[in-house]
Symmetry: C2
Subunit: 358 residues, 2 copies
């Protein structure tokens, strides 16, 4: 590309802000390839009596979602998604997955036709007409642009603290590789660019469900063997689901950061693991009626949402429609625990005769 | 088989005692297939003024290596390995790997010619003539018997407490599958029988080295992302080493319990993880001279040995002889940290330009 690419971030939660720090610094370091001003779309909120965009633009810190981390001053918060995306060559999507479709519809008339989308969103989108869909596909089809993905073992606060980690970027068009590497790679954030977009994205969504299972195991007081078994059985169901759902039997993607590494990180330090543990604790304290995901979201996340139960529900509806429930005992049990159909104390019993042991 | 099989355990440490509990109960449950008396070879020691074999045979508890777990009364401790193996049809090997060769040489004249060996030993054996060798191969060649292996995410104390887990059994001769399943499977110890003996065994040895790396990451205060990256890079090096060393590119074995699950359990709850963490702590307290594996064995294990540093050394010598050091930066760095050639604080720097990121 001859011209310098303008980059915009669509979203500014914890992960969005962490990636804004990397992207803001990298466009400065590669100012031959990128415009140095980066707009970041921020859903406007009032925090301590001030607009969140004003706080970010004056203090260079997202005090609500990623406190104590300084953002580069060239990252500019804007409350209007149309202003944020206008003129951008690269659109980085990092919103909760339930807001993707409506946000894309707002942007549709205003984006450059040759823009490249990159989704950092881990989840599926449930549509009435087509069942569950990959987020990258919804972005790509709604906006009519090529869409890459970035997924990996990237707990946001640790990335923001510059602790060493890896990530996987997937893009069908290999000519974008130098651009994507320049935009995201740092000495502590190591990028591998591959082609299998759908496979990478399925990993990113599915591991959130397995993370709930790992938390249930922790809540029940089991040790590392049991947790490792749940992680492995979860991985096997992720692989089988990907094969069935995408018609894609490329297992190599599960060995990338987006696969086994993200699964392991999620099952030890992720938000959905925390939910699984809290489910068991509420059950013990308040009985099965105590398993109330919305209440736990309020108690634990203070306004953000757990993606895992939504994804579990989406997967469950797909498996039910395709008469495959009995082939996925782990994913099905986790959904049913979230909906109070199964007592979390029976989780392990759901796995004893797993098809993998036959 | 028409006759009932006599089972013997060669070894009685923590893992040997945990498996003795399972095997002792299973031969009783399947007394159509097995003799109900199981001899367990115990290296005689004096514990609290009494012989360890006498304590095990009167209290049915290995008070030294697996306290507070009752063993079935049909497991009989014997201090003489010749007596233990004599007449046995199935020989379960569960000794530290450095004692395998000499123990087999003692047994050689006394075993049944058609006995089946099963190795639960995670390590390689370094020989002067042939370099590193699989333990199952040393057993098989020394005794002239077929040898299967059993490896998985099986931290011994958790297995002994009957917490749910999985394991992988590998045996070239598929006709042994029903016998092996009857001998080892319980409602909490789920067995999958596959064919790739060498692949399963290589996993079991190599993960101990990666476990040290996970401990170093913990000791250095990194979070779940970094640990997940080390686990994944370790897995990739395990796969590459297995391919080079065994000439075996069967990646499916890494998805079994012996692969990713054992690796994850080892990197979170294993003994070698503890060593890695202790290495960093000693370094901080006493400088690089403080990194003394023997001293840490005395402090932490009270007499048992860490397998990881030995295996790291064996792998290192193989890689050096084959001019492949630069392809395995993680395994090499761990060996060099154990031998004080590299400061553990530089571990992550050894990984930043890993060949996997190219």
């Amino acid at each position: 590309m001859v011209e310098r690419n303008r980059v915009a971030l669509i979203g500014s939660g914890c992960w969005g802000s962490a990636i804004a720090k990397i992207v803001g610094n990298n466009v400065l370091a590669h100012d031959d390839m990128f415009e140095t001003e980066v707009f970041m779309y921020v859903y406007e909120e009032i925090v301590n009596g001030q607009k969140l965009t004003d706080i970010i633009n004056s203090e260079h810190e997202n005090v609500k979602y990623l406190p104590e981390i300084k953002l580069p001053a060239n990252v500019i918060a804007v409350p209007d998604v149309v202003k944020a995306c206008n003129d951008a060559d690269i659109l980085i999507f990092v919103l909760p997955h339930q807001f993707v479709k409506e946000t894309c519809l707002k942007m549709k008339q205003f984006i450059k036709p040759n823009a490249l989308g990159i989704s950092l969103i881990k989840g599926f989108i449930l549509t009435e007409s087509d069942g569950i869909q990959l987020v990258s596909k919804v972005i790509s089809e709604t906006l009519g642009i090529e869409t890459a993905v970035l997924m990996g073992a990237n707990l946001a606060t640790e990335v923001a603290s510059e602790m060493f980690c890896e990530t996987t970027i997937a893009c069908e068009n290999e000519s974008y590789k130098p651009l994507l590497t320049a935009l995201f790679e740092t000495s502590y954030f190591r990028c591998k660019v591959i082609k299998n977009v759908a496979g990478v994205e399925a990993c990113g969504a599915l591991k959130n469900v397995v993370g709930i299972g790992a938390g249930i195991v922790d809540g029940l007081g089991y040790g590392d063997n049991t947790k490792a078994a749940v992680i492995r059985l979860g991985l096997m169901e992720m692989m089988k689901f990907t094969k069935v759902f995408l018609g894609n039997d490329d297992k190599s993607v599960f060995f990338e950061s987006c696969g086994v590494a993200d699964l392991v990180a999620t099952c030890h330090g992720g938000r959905n693991r925390l939910l699984g543990e809290a489910v068991v604790k509420s059950m013990k304290k308040r009985g099965i009626a105590g398993v109330d995901i919305r209440l736990l979201e309020k108690e634990i996340l203070r306004g953000q949402s757990f993606q895992g139960p939504l994804i579990a529900k989406e997967i469950y509806s797909y498996l039910k429609d395709n008469s495959m429930l009995e082939q996925f005992p782990l994913l099905v049990a986790i959904h049913r625990i979230c909906t109070r159909e199964v007592d979390p104390r029976n989780f392990i019993d759901c796995l004893r005769d797993h098809p993998e042991h036959m």
